[in-house]
């Protein structure tokens, strides 16, 4: 593989991995704090799905990079600006409505995206996709059912769900942002164009929102920046938590 293509692929795979690691971490913060026992299991379940996908992607990126960095180095030992996750996945938990909506937004994007990865020429990514599709399909179902029940629930649950939509919807546009590295992978049929799944994403969101009695807002000012390493203030606190162990006990393993 040409060096330039390899570098573009590494960057794109790390970007994908970052989305999964950071959202997985946000979900894991619910462990022991979920509103009911059943959710206290299901949210970490989903977190483990995402972190598992992140591991596969980081390992692959590390192998492609060939720089003796491990998946742990990539996950835990970069600075905030080196993470390229979209801002959506780092948004704070706030409340259960925010967490379920954020999950729905991301899963509704990743399911068709992984599906399209299966048509690409990278066999490792196809392998990751094959496993992830089933996991993320459940995330859509789980989060989607909650969005419906909260949106079409009590006055208070509807108020919170609508507040979550107002807060998070402007971040969804970044799911479709393509940088130069991703474009290179798209042109070489290694990764699909996020734009190609926009309609499917929108269909899923529309279907859930119409059941949840939520109007799909118009985004006049998309909130982006994570793909370029410009993160929100909350991200530093997240990383402090996430990286604490590796920073304090370098090379720690279990």
């Amino acid at each position: 593989m040409a060096a330039i293509e390899s570098q573009a692929l590494v960057a794109s795979v790390v970007q994908l991995a970052d989305d999964h690691l950071i959202l997985g971490h946000r979900l894991s913060e619910w462990c022991g704090h979920a509103p009911m026992l059943e959710e206290d299991l299901s949210m970490p379940n989903m977190a483990l799905d995402l972190i598992g996908q992140a591991r596969n992607l980081y390992s692959y990126a590390a192998e492609l990079e060939g720089n003796n960095r491990s998946e742990d180095d990539l996950a835990y030992l970069r600075t905030d600006r080196e993470y390229r996750n979209c801002l959506l996945v780092e948004r704070p938990n706030t409340d259960f409505a925010h967490a379920m909506l954020r999950q729905l937004y991301f899963a509704a994007f990743m399911q068709p995206y992984w599906q399209a990865v299966l048509d690409g020429k990278d066999s490792v990514l196809r392998g990751v996709a094959g496993k992830a599709i089933k996991e993320v399909g459940y995330h859509i179902r789980h989060a989607g059912e909650w969005v419906v029940r909260l949106g079409d629930g009590t006055d208070e649950s509807a108020r919170r769900m609508n507040a979550a939509v107002d807060a998070l919807h402007p971040y969804t546009e970044e799911l479709f942002v393509v940088d130069a590295d991703r474009q290179y992978c798209i042109d070489n049929n290694v990764l699909p164009d996020p734009q190609s799944v926009r309609t499917l994403w929108q269909d899923t969101i529309n279907a859930v929102f119409s059941q949840a009695l939520i109007e799909v807002p118009e985004v006049t000012y998309p909130l982006v920046g994570g793909r370029e390493g410009r993160h929100t203030e909350d991200f530093g606190f997240l990383l402090a938590d996430l990286q604490y162990m590796q920073r304090t006990y370098p090379g720690a393993q279990w």
């Binding site: 009911m36 026992l37 059943e38 299991l41 299901s42 379940n45 179902r141 789980h142 059912e145």
Partner: protein, 90 residues
């Protein structure tokens, strides 16, 4: 939130077996919660949930009347037949 009883079938061909209970707002959420709570370690491939209040149980006070009479009727067990080897496990 209503209580649901959860039944899991460990493998195709076996029966659903009671594994526990959980709280959920409705049937669909109960199936999803059962999946999350009771099948995390590959316990099965099928889930039933039943509203706990829908289960009709025998009266524990009538246990002696109900079950003791069967105690001395050993001839009801089909264990007095010679089963040919080729039949295998029954």
């Amino acid at each position: 939130m209503p209580l649901w009883e959860v039944f899991i079938r460990p493998r195709t061909g076996l029966n659903h077996k009671h594994v526990g209970s959980l709280h959920a707002a409705d049937a669909q959420m109960a199936v999803q919660a059962a999946r999350d709570v009771y099948t995390r370690r590959e316990e099965g491939n099928s889930i039933w949930v039943v509203r706990a209040e829908q289960i009709v149980a025998s009266d524990p006070d009538l246990a002696a009347e109900n079950f003791d009479p069967a105690g001395d009727k050993v001839y009801r067990h089909p264990s007095f037949y010679d089963i040919p080897d080729e039949v295998g496990h029954m």
